[in-house]
Symmetry: C4
Subunit: 232 residues, 4 copies
């Protein structure tokens, strides 16, 4: 079986989303990339999570052409492949309709950095894309979703590894990471951060974000050469 370890990692990332309550029925999808071979492994479309096996994962090239697999890939494939092409440092992509992050996406609101839980994972606000134009919706819609994501990061000069997630306006979040486990972890934390941001903003609509100094302190405690968190 091609890319056996990556298939298992992608499957486990998908199951982590179920375990953490981020997906309902067959919603959501995770993928991973083998950068050396230029191959993407992604969840098939509309298959029950209970029945998912590593061999069900679909393998495509970076243009989304199926290389291995009998099932139809996730309908969001073209967003995943575009992100892999444009964000060269990422190794996995996760998409969910998790309740609170999706609610911010539906409101067209970025999630501001309101506390250190956020700062531990996202170095600044989690941005929201512009709404897709009618042409984009009617055209290469899934591809255009990726275009809107990349546009937002480029415009605002955001490093996708420092802010490993985005809200697609009127849709839901996409997250990523260095591997499938990391991307799923970021998606779970994004939902937790969105829950807290929702509570904070409904308590006090004018909440400002934390200071840059606090953002720096927490983000760089967990990330980069001087990270001190954990056992490594």
């Amino acid at each position: 079986m091609m890319l056996k370890d990556l298939r298992i990692a992608v499957l486990e990332a998908n199951l982590e989303l179920v375990k953490r309550g981020l997906v309902l029925y067959t919603f959501g999808n995770a993928s991973g990339i083998d950068r050396e071979r230029g191959l993407v492994v992604i969840k098939p479309s509309g298959v029950d999570y209970d029945e998912l096996r590593p061999e069900h994962m679909v393998v495509t090239d970076l243009d989304g052409k199926i290389v291995d697999g009998d099932l139809r890939p996730s309908s969001d494939l073209d967003t995943h492949t575009l992100l892999y092409r444009e964000f060269r440092s990422i190794g996995a992509v996760v998409h969910t309709h998790s309740e609170y992050a999706t609610s911010f996406a539906q409101a067209g609101m970025a999630i501001p950095a309101l506390g250190t839980t956020h700062a531990d994972y996202f170095y600044g606000a989690v941005p929201v894309t512009e709404p897709l134009s009618d042409e984009a919706c009617a055209g290469q819609y899934v591809h255009e979703t990726g275009v809107a994501i990349v546009k937002r990061f480029r415009e605002q000069g955001i490093d996708p590894m420092a802010v490993p997630g985005v809200l697609v306006a009127g849709h839901a979040p996409f997250c990523w990471g260095k591997n499938p486990d990391d991307a799923a972890h970021n998606a779970v934390v994004l939902e937790a951060v969105a829950r807290m941001a929702y509570r904070t903003l409904t308590l006090k609509a004018t909440s400002e974000g934390v200071s840059q100094a606090l953002l720096d302190r927490h983000y760089f405690r967990k990330h980069g050469a001087k990270a001190t968190y954990g056992q490594r």
Copy 2:
């Protein structure tokens, strides 16, 4: 036993509502119809879900006359039968008092199409009926509930298969589908959509719905001749 497969399907739809946390105690009810024979299979009234067996399901004709069964049918039977008579394309009806959908019903507010989760299932806002008149409450109340539902769909020219659910003002949602499994699935997704709409609207009271183009894109990705989602 008459209509054995339909009894099992109706029982399973009822149990799906319990499993997904949509019902408390004996709240809620699901039914299904055998269109060829013109017979409706419905949950009995006030029986614990733990004890429900296929043989407890009550069989009635399209006017609600009991054809088979020792137990009293769901007290909402007359709404179910009216929906079957008026909406000829539906094969099952589900009624719950699920928390968030019911809260919109209590507020007398339709659930606007605020995102693609909604658009994947409901082609436009999930409408709310007018409040029932005092005469309707004091008269053939359960029947009148169905009348109010049908009136709302006719007035607004909504296709019940494109928007497979409604909120009854001051009461709670009814959903439907092509079979009991599909109707229960729609009820579960309606609750998820209502949760997200609640969060979106409490974050930002002025949220507008998604564009018609996005609504079209998502709805027709999952429905109709050109659907591409899933493995079929």
Copy 3:
């Protein structure tokens, strides 16, 4: 063992509160009364629910004097006994700090009858007491809590069997019923109703209650001589 069946029923009502997520740690208490003998059976104070056995229940007379039992009774005993003395038709009392009902109590707001879930159980708003005076807090506080409850029902001419629950301002709900199972059931439904009322009011602060006609229709469908719900 005195009053064996009532001890078991009271224990089971206490455990139902745990099962339904209404209590944390040792919060909450349920009691029942044997009207013929004038004896009350109540949960002991501060014992873990996991360890509760029928023989731990404390038996008192209607003035709260301990008749049987080695443990100290619930610290809310004097409220229970006062309710039994004043509301002669009730057979059991349940007190919880369930999240949403308690939040209404803390806000000093009655729960209006916003929908049929409410109307199925409570024939009108669930009232809130006045805040206790400083003298009442410093005096026979637990007794005064009961006094405030009874005062509210008498002033507003509410039948305690038609509205089997109340919110004590700044504190939490008390519910009752014809027996411990019924009182616990009412406490669980009150919390569900409070959840929906919270959502409804935060969606739309000006929500009015349902019409008297709808309230009548639902309440009397489940209660009184003409009730049609369920199998009895």
Copy 4:
């Protein structure tokens, strides 16, 4: 093994946080102190809760110098040790990012004493610190977090055993108690109290706290020489 019983108690306090849903992944940490020996036992940093064993706990002196243990201690160690040095009556410290308490911290809002659930555990509002200055964030940040906590208690003349918890602005709560079990219990109740305060304030933004008389009544029912709650 040094301090075996305290290691077990600290481990169990950490696991109680998981069981009650207060922590996600490796978030959160609990510690305990042996006052006679002047030694602190604290959770290691970034180890999965599933894998935590008593021997993984790290032992330090009151200045945070590691005395026993192969793993790196919790990154919040310096806050714990400062609290032990300044609040001489406390025996354990717990830190979580529990959702609702953290949301108040992010909003920079103290949790007012809105009801008796609060009054049973916290004798007055749970205070929030000032935001940390940029210098504090960039300097001895974890130590400065403790400084901000102690400053708030000293300024407002609050007894840390009467209000066994605090919100660090833009961060999250710290709680404490006479031993690890007690500190974890306080953290769990703080989250429940924060949930109710959130609901109360979003229902009615102008809610005032309970009266001093009610606060006295409930707090001293559970605390101090005249406590009457429970079996001791």
